[in-house]
């Protein structure tokens, strides 16, 4: 994914479906520029799955929006995003339309707000197919919609339902069906299960896993819940203050974190049965920094239990931390 782990991946002429190079996103606000994403890079080959984790304001959802060029006007974006060989930021509006839905599609959180309440879900699922002309007729689109509904575990009669007639879990399935309408190569899932119950979350995660296995779908999964990511994604990138501060194979990052922030985040989701966390919740003092007013030096140092004097001087970049792993901490 990053330079640090290229040694564990066969480099067959760098056949990446999605490449992100030194992505920087700065929002312009009335209080001045706010850097939300600062120098993020990663590469994904077909079938890869990357989990982006971090707390509110760490920049993870901004990355999702940037990958689809959905950022508000006036936002400054630098760096390079290549999707299937095309430079995303230099695409014409027509070229961009061709990429959205057919190359990359997104599943948002809050399934109720992402659906139009006065249209049947079937019509909403079929619309992108007709707009992007991936299906030639209404009849073909409806047929495809029926197949998609079956794939995500909804009966075909639900195509005629309005969003309010469906449960939260069913609406989330509709959003996934919609994102798959034009057979995208890359699926970006931004907190797709956060509002769902445990059992429904398990159903949706199993569905995403199955779709990925069946069709070599490339997945970017965004959430604050590290335990979900460790379960769904092969690789994990932990974000703090707009940067990736640790990355590697998800089981390794979750079971054996090296960055002090990752350690705190992993400990916040206790393992049931682990005696050390029984009646001993683990937290981290302080709050995530405001993107507009980052501390000098390592942005984590004010909350870091291991901070030293040198941490206040300069912000550490990602450095190798074992095979396929990297962390941005001077102690690594």
């Amino acid at each position: 994914m990053m330079e640090a782990d290229n040694n564990d991946r066969p480099m067959m002429g760098a056949e990446f479906i999605l490449s992100v190079r030194d992505l920087n996103v700065t929002y312009q606000t009335t209080r001045g520029p706010v850097p939300a994403v600062r120098g993020v890079s990663f590469d994904l080959a077909a079938g890869d799955s990357l989990g982006l984790a971090g707390e509110s304001g760490c920049g993870k959802s901004t990355i999702a929006a940037a990958l689809l060029r959905l950022l508000p006007p006036g936002t400054t974006t630098t760096g390079e995003v290549t999707i299937d060989g095309k430079d995303l930021f230099s695409l014409s509006p027509g070229g961009l339309r061709a990429v959205r839905w057919t190359k990359e599609a997104i599943v948002f959180q809050g399934a109720l707000h992402a659906l139009n309440p006065v249209q049947t879900v079937g019509r909403q699922v079929c619309e992108p197919m007709l707009v992007h002309e991936t299906e030639s007729s209404q009849k073909a689109a409806t047929e495809k919609g029926r197949n998609l509904f079956e794939r995500v575990g909804l009966t075909a009669d639900k195509l005629d339902y309005y969003p309010h007639q469906l449960s939260g879990g069913q609406r989330q399935r509709v959003l996934i069906a919609m994102a798959l309408a034009c057979d995208p190569d890359v699926l970006i899932a931004d907190e797709p299960t956060t509002a769902l119950d445990l059992m429904v979350q398990a159903q949706v995660l199993a569905l995403i896993e199955e779709l990925r296995r069946e069709s070599a779908l490339t997945l970017i999964f965004i959430t604050h819940d590290l335990s979900v990511l460790a379960y769904v994604c092969e690789r994990l990138a932990i974000m703090y203050a707009g940067r990736i501060v640790e990355e590697g194979r998800s089981s390794e990052v979750f079971d054996n974190p090296v960055h002090p922030y990752t350690r705190a985040l992993a400990a916040a989701f206790p393992r049931i049965g682990d005696r050390s966390s029984r009646l001993a919740p683990s937290g981290l003092g302080g709050d995530p920094p405001t993107p507009g007013a980052l501390p000098v030096g390592c942005p984590f140092h004010p909350r870091c239990p291991l901070a030293e004097d040198r941490c206040r001087d300069a912000e550490p970049g990602l450095r190798p931390a074992g095979p396929g792993r990297a962390a941005a901490c001077v102690l690594v």
Binding site: E55, S56, S167, G168, G169, D197, L198, M199, V200, Q201, A202, Q203, L205, A206, H224, D225, L226, S227, V228, A230, Y231, A264, L265, A267, A268, F269, P270, R271, I272, G273, S277, R278, L279, A280, P281, S282, G283, L284, G285, G286, D287, P288, R303
Partner: protein, 319 residues
């Protein structure tokens, strides 16, 4: 947890119906002094309705709720300061135009307990970990962080010296790192002051972190209750077993993903309400006489101390 003492609150066979929807359908539950009891379940299980009934915000359709304090002083339930509630979203729970001091003092003013107001507000803030308290007096909610806001909500409850804190998803809207801080505070309040907490949550990690006992709700009923270790390490009810198997943190169990969602509380299945989704029943491995009871007889939890499950197959004490 001090067992043997009389319960802080006793819920006896309580039902709450909304028209034909049986949101809470015959629940019995004791909260003991000085314990954290986690009431876990999915949306639609009736857990929030049950704690609203315990607080007196929701009238019950059947059964009764006894508060120990109330029985002694025969107070009107709604003005009972002995039961306080903290909600999920601290930002929504705080008036943006009130200072932290006024927010915390409000309960005292409503109850006209204003004689030593400043000292009580100061003590409550300190107890909630906002120190020095005076620094927070003039601040408005937008001037403090998310974690501090939830501490202000807790201080507003603690200023009334409650015996029972009802917490509805107390950390669900908080960032991961802050979550642990607030859970630590809740556990500390129980250990230091002997308060009891009834926490409603879908977060089994929260239960593992702070609860003494766990009660599992399904479709308006408690289906299994016991110590946290009993329920989370060795669950017996097939619903609890399935629920635990899908917690991403517990990868030791084979996943049992139940199909569909909790049925509508207007159409509660006959017999055991869980049997249409029950992996044990559906496996066909059950003894014929037990399987027959699953479809015809509604299993009830045995009351009293210790572990119990409402299941014909796993608990011989089921009635």
């Amino acid at each position: 947890m001090r067992t043997g003492l009389s319960p802080i609150v006793s819920v006896e066979d309580v039902s709450v119906f909304f028209g034909s929807a049986r949101a809470v359908d015959g629940v019995s539950l004791d909260v003991l002094p000085g314990e954290v009891l986690a009431l876990v379940g999915e949306s639609g299980s009736g857990k929030t309705t049950l704690i609203r009934a315990i607080q007196g915000l929701q009238s019950v359709s059947g059964g009764s709720i006894h508060h120990r304090e109330k029985a002694e002083e025969s107070k009107d339930l709604r003005s009972d300061s002995g039961v306080q509630m903290i909600f999920q979203d601290p930002t929504g729970a705080l008036n943006p135009r009130q200072t932290v001091y006024d927010i915390v003092a409000e309960g005292l003013r409503i109850r006209r307990e204003g004689t030593d107001e400043e000292k009580r507000v100061s003590d409550a803030l300190a107890r909630a970990g906002l120190r020095p308290p005076e620094r927070f007096f003039p601040m408005y909610p937008h001037q403090i962080s998310g974690g501090q806001r939830q501490r202000v909500v807790i201080a507003g409850a603690m200023v009334m010296n409650p015996v029972l804190l009802l917490a509805d998803e107390p950390v669900a809207s908080l960032d991961a790192s802050i979550r642990g801080e607030i859970l630590m505070l809740m556990r500390q309040l129980v250990d230091d002051t002997g308060l009891s907490i009834l926490a409603v949550t879908h977060d089994l990690g929260l239960a593992w972190n702070i609860a003494d006992r766990v009660a599992v709700m399904y479709l308006g009923r408690i289906v299994e209750i016991g110590t946290t270790e009993e329920i989370l390490e060795n669950p017996q009810h097939p619903y609890t077993r399935a629920l635990l198997s899908v917690v991403p943190e517990t990868r030791r169990m084979e996943q049992q993903i139940l199909q569909g969602e909790i049925p509508d509380s207007k159409r509660i299945p006959a017999g055991c309400r869980f049997h249409p989704r029950c992996p044990l029943f559906r496996s066909g491995d059950l003894d014929e006489t037990i399987a027959a009871r699953c479809t015809t007889e509604d299993p009830h939890l045995t009351l009293g101390a210790g572990w119990h499950a409402a299941c014909w197959a796993v608990d011989p004490q089921t009635k």
